[in-house]
């Protein structure tokens, strides 16, 4: 008897009266389903199969539900329900698997046509580069921020008072000669260093203080590979009741190790600045030859980088701090120079030309 006819009759009509009979009946269905699925040749045929067996109104399994399950004697009802659900689920799953098999065949052919030469370069949306001076400013800030330093700023068109006088460089002071100054008018000039920010900050805040001040500065220097009338400096200082020369040494030693690497040694040499006392030039062991001596360090093994020292107590007089209570240190150095050493840039002018062939290297 064909399946179509079987499902139109009740169990009773088919002469099935026990569980073994029911199982045999469903085995027959299962065999039929598998055979038909194996014979499917296209996606359309798959859809026809679905309607024939699983269709909600006309499907063979729906008919089996109506004619076998519903009128089944109570003793067989459970078994029929369970087997019917099982067959239904199996039919669905097998159909889905068969459909995927069928799809794969036609897809392979279709996608083969769409093949690209994936070794061609990608279409890149341009991404801008950070300026090396910016990279260094950011990094210096992060290092000092981690040590508790806040960031302060000051004007570039500065008064003689903040740039010189309050830094212990009265008019006629010989040290003014070493900072070739560009004057604006009257008492105003282009700041020759970031140190004025020290005075401005101490004027408005009380210790304890830890501050760095990166910024642009100016000198009346003829431009060449190592000089520029405009460049960048970072100033830093700490004032508290417990600040010593050893702290200054430790702070800059830590900074240079973080910035240039653990292998870097620092060296403090006595020097002179009107606003610090004792004063020091801070050298680092040459990062190109590790101190053995090379062209970059003029065979000395050391590279001079920062000026530093204990804040001269004369400055506390200008900002009304009690010099008996407080002590502090200050340091300053060229950001451009830090960058040039870091990246091996030989000419400072490159930093200010906006040449994309140069800038794009700092992505």
């Amino acid at each position: 008897m064909k399946v179509e006819e079987q499902v139109r009759q009740t169990l009773e009509g088919l002469g099935v009266g026990d569980e073994a009979g029911v199982a045999g009946l469903f085995d027959g269905l299962r065999t039929q389903i598998e055979r038909e699925l194996a014979g499917l040749a296209s996606a359309d045929a798959g859809e026809q199969f679905r309607i024939r067996w699983l269709g909600r109104k006309q499907g063979l399994l729906t008919a089996a539900n109506d004619n076998w399950l519903k009128p089944a004697p109570p003793a067989l009802k459970r078994a029929v329900g369970r087997l019917l659900n099982e067959v239904k689920r199996q039919a669905e799953q097998s159909l889905e698997a068969r459909r995927r098999e069928l799809d794969a065949g036609s897809e392979t052919a279709r996608l083969a046509v769409q093949r690209l030469d994936v070794t061609l370069p990608g279409l890149r949306r341009p991404i801008g580069a950070r300026h090396p001076v910016q990279i260094v400013i950011d990094e210096v800030q992060e290092i000092f921020l981690s040590m508790g330093y806040s960031v302060e700023e000051g004007p570039e068109i500065e008064s003689d008072y903040y740039n010189f006088e309050a830094l212990n460089m009265p008019r006629e002071h010989p040290a003014r000669d070493t900072q070739a100054t560009l004057y604006v008018a009257g008492d105003y000039l282009l700041r020759t260093h970031t140190s004025p920010v020290q005075i401005r900050t101490m004027e408005k805040m009380q210790p304890p203080l830890r501050v760095i001040a990166p910024g642009r500065v100016y000198r009346r220097d003829n431009p060449d590979a190592t000089h520029s009338f405009m460049f960048h400096q970072v100033e830093g200082f700490a004032v508290d009741t417990n600040i010593t020369f050893c702290d200054l040494k430790g702070t800059l030693d830590y900074f240079f190790k973080r910035f240039y690497g653990e292998q870097v040694q620092t060296r403090f040499r006595p020097s002179f600045f009107p606003f610090t006392e004792p004063s020091a030039e801070v050298d680092i062991s040459c990062i190109f030859c590790s101190g053995a001596g090379c062209r970059k360090c003029k065979q000395s093994g050391w590279i001079e980088l920062f000026g530093a020292g204990m804040i001269d107590p004369a400055l506390y007089g200008f900002v009304k701090y009690d010099e008996r209570k407080y002590s502090g240190f200050a340091f300053g150095g060229g950001i451009d120079r830090l960058a040039m050493l870091r990246y091996g840039i030989e000419d400072i002018q490159l930093l200010f030309q906006g040449d994309l062939r140069f800038l794009q290297q700092f992505r």
Binding site: P126, G128, A129, Q134, G148, E153, I243, F268, P278
Partner: protein
């Protein structure tokens, strides 16, 4: 400064070779850059800081060495062989202005024979970098190198009345200095005069017609001490910088004038013959006692952070010429020597101890700290700007803030801030705008074959005058050339106005803002009159941007359009960075309605947008211009616009009736602008 090792070693026994000496001097503050052997002589090239005139000579450096190595320094003394005739009977010295000249020592030598110096002296001078002139002049130069004290030799017979009077210049007085220049003197200048007229500018330069000549036989040697500030003032007023002024303006040694005169007299007798008259003329009207300073062990430690043994403190200071009296309780009274005018306070003495104890002997430490660290006020906003600009493809540049006036002129309505002493015309004014620097960078790149240029700069521009200056921060963008690299994957297309506007919008979108609108009032004539705009946030201009005026591009011979934008950061930063705010996403799909419109040319998009906005339909989620059509079926004087509206109500489906009603209101509002629905 060139130092001869052999000369230094004449004054102190140094237990180190020259290389070691150079290293040790460097670490004590006399920076030796190099050691070279020239003609059998070891020459140290050294830099001495301006505060240490005492160390700008061989004897001074020998003193440093004596402290470094704890060895005795040979006293500087000379007792010239004198004749019986007293010097005071032959010449006289008078100081009229003891404030400016604290001491004047002089020696008189008669019967010298001016001529070449002996070979040993010539060699030594030349090795130290000084050219030999004649034996008398060479002696003064020799003293300068050896002792650091500037001496001057007068031809005694050219001094009227054989008198020396140290006084201020007088109005109307003129004098030719050795360099042949005639100088007008005033009361600001200290001069050396004879009985009649000035014969030298004190401490700076001698006169042309009182100095040593070939035929000079009688010499008056001056070894004086002048007030540093006065010398500096005079040297600057005359624009002169001499070896003598260099020393005097930094502070010479009041205590050494006599020994210097004696030593020079002795040397002159040795190399030029003659008779040294009996007695040093030493006018010393104003002794300047140096007050003793208190030095506390506790203060040493408070500043330096490490204990320096008291024996070491005493040893260092004594070797440097300080006198000490200890009170036994960790305190000293310290009397600085006459050659150390830079030591005036306890901290100055502490520095002396620190530098000779050795900076390298202080350990490294990190200070204790409690407190908070703050970034600069606009750090976050600036970083957001930089990162967004980069993501949009712009590279950061930094350009010179000093530019030429002709470069500033087109970009500023007011006078730029001008330098009083510029290096060159090219860098003589502060930039009034971020644009000229960006244009220079664009030019630089285009001239070097880079076609796609996208640059941004964040920096200050400058304005103001006479003590009231402003330095507002600007973000500048400059863009030209292809939008993307090509043409492999996509047809190349050059950046245009709307690319730039999109970038400006992306940047402005970082900030909190009630109402942002754009109009055509760029308000600057360096922009293309029809392709420039202004952005206003809550009514205040925050940016202007557009295509550079074709005339300006043509001046630079640019064939491609260049786009620029200026964003006023001080105003933008007032708005603060936008904080993300979450609203639930509606699960009910939105309803789109398209309108095909005919719009008169005079009606800009901004008017359509505002008119629609004024309807106040809350469910109107968006209005987009989707397509613009010109020509063809659209009559001249109008353009076709496909307008897409999106309606949505969170969590609720919209009925057709509602959407139809809103659409009708929208069409009515557009009709008021002269806009018609296309048939």
């Amino acid at each position: 400064m060139r130092l001869l090792s052999s000369w230094i070693r004449e004054f102190v026994d140094i237990p180190a070779d020259d290389r070691q000496l150079a290293a040790d001097l460097t670490m004590a503050g006399v920076a030796v850059d190099s050691v070279a052997v020239e003609q059998g002589q070891a020459v140290l090239e050294a830099d001495v800081t301006t505060n240490r005139p005492d160390a700008m000579n061989h004897y001074g450096v020998a003193r440093e060495a004596s402290a470094i190595y704890d060895r005795d320094l040979k006293p500087y003394r000379a007792s010239p062989v004198e004749s019986a005739r007293p010097a005071l009977g032959v010449a006289s010295v008078e100081i009229a202005d003891p404030d400016l000249c604290a001491r004047y020592s002089a020696r008189v030598i008669l019967g010298v024979k001016v001529g070449p110096s002996p070979e040993w002296m010539v060699k030594r001078l030349e090795a130290a970098g000084t050219r030999s002139i004649n034996n008398v002049a060479d002696v003064t130069n020799y003293l300068l190198l050896e002792l650091g004290h500037p001496l001057h030799a007068f031809d005694l017979d050219l001094l009227a009345g054989r008198r020396i009077i140290v006084r201020r210049g007088r109005a109307g007085e003129r004098m030719a200095t050795l360099d042949g220049v005639v100088r007008e003197l005033t009361a600001q200048n200290l001069v050396i005069a004879d009985g009649e007229r000035p014969v030298a500018i004190a401490g700076v330069m001698g006169g042309l017609d009182s100095g040593i000549r070939d035929q000079t036989t009688n010499v008056l040697l001056e070894s004086a001490w002048f007030e540093p500030r006065s010398i500096r003032g005079t040297a600057r007023r005359f624009g002169m910088h001499t070896d003598a002024s260099h020393r005097f303006e930094r502070g010479a040694d009041l205590g050494i004038t006599a020994a210097g005169a004696d030593r020079a007299a002795e040397l002159i007798r040795e190399v030029a013959g003659g008779e040294v008259l009996c007695g040093l003329i030493d006018v010393f009207p104003a002794p300047r006692p140096r007050p003793a300073l208190l030095l506390r062990q506790t203060e040493l430690e408070r500043i330096l952070g490490e204990r320096v043994p008291p024996e070491r403190v005493e040893q260092i200071l004594r070797r440097l010429g300080f006198r000490l009296a200890a009170d036994g309780a960790g305190q000293w009274m310290v009397e600085p020597p006459s050659f150390r005018l830079d030591v005036e306070r306890e901290i100055d003495v502490i520095e002396e101890v620190a530098r000779l104890f050795g900076y390298q002997r202080f350990p490294t430490r990190l200070p204790q700290w409690s407190g908070v660290a703050r970034r600069a006020p606009h750090w976050h906003a600036e970083r957001a700007l930089r990162e967004t600009a980069r993501a949009l493809g712009y590279s950061q540049t930094i350009s010179f803030t000093l530019i030429a006036p002709r470069q500033a002129e087109p970009f500023s309505l007011t006078d730029p801030v001008r330098l009083a002493n510029p290096l060159s015309e090219e860098a003589s004014v502060m930039r009034p705008s971020i644009v000229p620097g960006l244009l220079n960078a664009v030019e630089w790149n285009l001239n070097r074959g880079t076609r796609a240029v996208r640059l941004f700069e964040i920096g200050k521009v400058y304005a103001g005058a006479s003590g009231r200056y402003e330095e507002p921060s600007i973000l500048g963008l400059a863009a030209t050339g292809p939008v993307q690299e090509g043409p492999l994957h996509a047809a190349p297309r050059d950046m245009d106005f709307f690319d730039l506007k999109g970038d400006v919008e992306a940047v402005l979108d970082l900030f909190q803002c009630g109402r942002l609108y754009f109009d055509a009032n760029a308000g600057a004539d360096y922009y293309h009159p029809g392709r420039a705009a202004r952005a206003a946030m809550d009514g205040e201009t925050v940016a202007r941007f557009g295509q550079l005026h074709p005339r300006m591009a043509a001046e630079r011979k640019w064939r491609q359009p260049v786009l620029i934008a200026e964003l006023y950061l001080d105003r933008l930063f007032c708005h603060g960075l936008r904080r993300p705010k979450y609203e639930p996403v509606s699960r009910v799909p939105a309803v789109d309605r398209d309108f095909s419109l005919v719009v008169p040319d005079a009606v800009a998009w901004e008017r359509i947008e505002s008119a629609v906005g004024r309807l106040g339909i809350q469910e109107l989620a968006a209005v987009h211009p989707v397509e613009i059509l010109r020509g063809g079926p659209v009559a001249a004087g109008s353009y076709g616009l496909l307008l897409r509206t999106v309606f949505q109500r969170p969590g609720q489906t919209l009925s057709d009736t509602e959407v139809n009603e809103w659409s009708a209101r929208l069409i009515a509002a557009l009709q008021e602008l002269g806009i018609a629905l296309r048939a």
